[in-house]
């Protein structure tokens, strides 16, 4: 996917202006997820679970070479073909081979953010392969030609009405068809795809090194079908997804489900060890592609590597008051919300993503929600600091902040200037003349100097207090 993270402020403003329904839909959906998470966290000793999960992930990440080699060996013993990919180029080469060797005409895909990073769909389409996203939300946005708006609920920005219109135009359903009827139509189309596709594509929530197990979580059953029916299954796995032991799944599966949707466990969990054995149903060929795509660079970053603990549960998005306003699209890359703001600069380079760390109130809700205790607010500040150091903040902004600091640092200068501001016949709309205020002023009322200076008011209050 081509990143447009640089345009975040403009895109956010445009979305708020042009699609006000998004704010309502996203706020409703995220608040719903958030309530469910709080209830599910309330049932367990959350602090202990999160701390244990954090420690397991830190252990894996600080021994990543060991666990990757262990996992690779186990996968091979299980009959899986293991590949390594730096990024899209190698991933595409492998897919081209699979498509050619098996004469693939049709592929079914389970939702995976990594395949968004790698641009798997456009590649397959360019090879003449029909690709079906099989997660219902993902299928909706595929029909619309949009990228996902949320890590877990890709279509949460759409209202029922918009989906009714989409299906009316596409499949001729009544314009007011209820959700059940729409789901039935999608089920029919996708069932046909499952039964005829030669290739199934998925990501993975976890890869257990000790047993070579791919773990996938979902509620619909489309992942079970995509990884069971086609004769070839290709799974793209980020190298940070490893867990040491099978038993660690007993912590990570329920913890991720609670954080993401407030469930004790997702409805379907697939634990895949490899191709079908003698006499079994299932894929004849299974490929696992271990993908870097910027992860080793993040691992090497002593201040930012902790983002690699991320489980992609989406809890920080749901908790974020900034994300709730616009959903994921304005962030301009696969990962949005608080985790996107600290992951995207690492994956894309700060120059491509520097506005994202500013898309936060630093309220800390994201860190409290995070099942692996990623210190997101601290990482936001790290990236902001770097953006300033690297001169990525616009020059006039840096100049203005420098001037502001000088004025605020000198009481005499401050008094003189504030008096001037009040005394001079200034135009009503100050910000027209001060570009530094323009961005701030968009969506707010005009700025005016206070009629009386604060230090005078303060003196008065103190005197009143003394006198009264």
């Amino acid at each position: 996917m081509r990143a447009k993270a640089k345009r975040y402020p403009k895109e956010a403003a445009r979305l708020l202006r042009e699609r006000p329904s998004v704010r309502e839909a996203v706020t409703g959906a995220t608040l719903h997820f958030e309530r469910n998470r709080l209830r599910a966290y309330g049932e367990i000793d959350t602090e202990a679970w999160r701390e244990r999960a954090r420690r397991v992930k830190d252990h894996v990440l600080t021994h990543l070479d060991h666990y990757l080699e262990l996992a690779e060996g186990r996968l091979r013993e299980n009959g899986v073909q293991v590949h390594w990919a730096e990024g899209p180029e190698e991933a595409h080469r492998l897919l081209r081979e699979v498509v050619a060797r098996h004469g693939v005409r049709r592929a079914v895909k389970a939702k995976s953010m990594l395949t968004e990073e790698l641009g798997v769909n456009p590649l397959l389409e360019s090879l003449g392969v029909e690709v079906y996203e099989t997660d219902l939300g993902e299928y909706l946005i595929q029909l619309l030609g949009e990228p996902p708006s949320h890590i877990v609920g890709p279509a949460i920005h759409l209202t029922l009405k918009e989906i009714q219109e989409l299906f009316h135009g596409r499949f001729g359903t009544p314009p007011d068809a209820p959700p059940e009827a729409l789901a039935q139509v999608a089920r029919r189309v996708l069932r046909e795809a499952f039964l005829t596709a030669e290739l199934g594509i998925s990501g993975a929530n976890f890869l257990v090194a000790e047993t070579g197990t791919l773990a996938l979580m979902e509620n619909e059953g489309n992942i079970r079908l995509s990884t069971s029916l086609p004769k070839v299954h290709v799974a793209f796995v980020g190298i940070e997804k490893l867990l040491p032991r099978l038993q660690d799944l007993a912590l990570f599966l329920p913890l991720t489900a609670r954080a993401a949707t407030g469930q004790r466990l997702s409805t379907f969990v697939s634990l895949l060890q490899g191709p079908a054995r003698e006499g079994e149903e299932g894929p004849e060929e299974v490929h696992v592609v271990l993908v870097d795509h910027g992860r080793t660079a993040l691992l090497a970053d002593p201040e930012a590597w902790e983002v690699l603990r991320c489980l992609r549960c989406g809890a920080c998005l749901n908790a974020c008051p900034v994300y709730r306003q616009t959903g994921g699209h304005p962030y301009g890359y696969v990962y949005s919300g608080p985790i996107g703001a600290v992951l995207d600069p690492g994956l894309l380079g700060l120059e491509e993503a520097y506005p994202l760390p500013y898309a936060s109130t630093l309220c800390g809700a994201c860190q409290e929600a995070c099942p692996v205790k990623i210190p997101i607010p601290r990482l936001l500040l790290t990236w902001r600091h770097r953006a300033v150091e690297e001169g990525l903040a616009p020059a006039w902004e840096r100049g203005a902040i420098g001037a502001f600091a000088r004025v605020m640092g000198s009481p005499a200068l401050y008094r003189l200037l504030s008096k001037a501001l009040r005394g001079l016949p200034l135009p009503q709309e100050l910000q027209v003349y001060l570009p530094v205020l323009k961005a701030w002023a968009e969506g707010r009322g005009p700025l005016r100097p206070s009629p009386r200076p604060f230090h005078e008011l303060w003196k008065e209050i103190k005197e009143e207090a003394r006198g009264g």
């Binding site: 059953g221 379907f268 060890q273």
Partner: protein
């Protein structure tokens, strides 16, 4: 250099100075004496229908579910005695019957092995799972400790297939079965 070598070399370089984090011990759980009650309760909370039945009772339920149906798809492990209907391919069968490897009380889940099959667990709109009482584990942790030798695919099913992707309204039976029945056999 190939991708594998490059990636591993970069990881080693990145980790050279990094303090190593220890792997925490596995937690110890206080286990319920009999997980069965919890299992049936959690199943119900997940939107599935669970029953504790002897062989007779299980057959009666199966016949009741099968009323008016032309046939069913069966997992390989389902005993002869539990196949009251003619066998249909899973693509056409209105009912799938499976034999579970184990069940987990804590999450209200049944574990289904690829050795039993896969299509009968996924394609029919109603899914009935049989599990022996001794195979109900209190926690996921214990179940995994006992099942290190996994089949090629293991599915944990904890309720009917569902989605809220259309306007946040919960819809059942989206791709997989919209009804899940679990019979614990005494």
């Amino acid at each position: 250099m190939e991708a594998r070598a490059r990636i591993l070399a970069r990881i080693r370089k990145a980790l050279k100075e990094r303090p190593k984090a220890l792997l925490p011990e596995l937690p110890h759980h206080a286990l319920p004496a009999d997980p069965l009650d919890l299992f049936l309760r959690r199943l119900a909370e997940n939107g599935a229908e669970g029953r504790l039945l002897d062989q007779e009772g299980a057959l009666a339920l199966l016949r009741e579910l099968a009323q008016g149906l032309p046939g069913a798809a069966y997992g390989r492990g389902v005993p002869e005695g539990f196949r009251p209907l003619p066998e249909l391919p899973p693509e056409e069968a209105p009912l799938g019957v499976s034999w579970a490897l184990f069940a987990v009380a804590e999450t209200g889940s049944v574990a289904l092995s690829s050795e039993d099959g896969r299509k009968a667990q996924l394609l029919p709109p109603t899914h009935l799972v049989l599990v022996e009482r001794e195979r109900v584990y209190p926690t996921l942790l214990e179940a995994f400790q006992d099942h290190k030798a996994l089949p090629s695919a293991l599915g944990l099913h904890s309720g009917p297939s569902k989605s809220a992707d259309i306007g946040q309204v919960m819809v059942k039976g989206v791709h997989g079965p919209g009804r899940l029945w679990v019979v614990v056999l005494t």
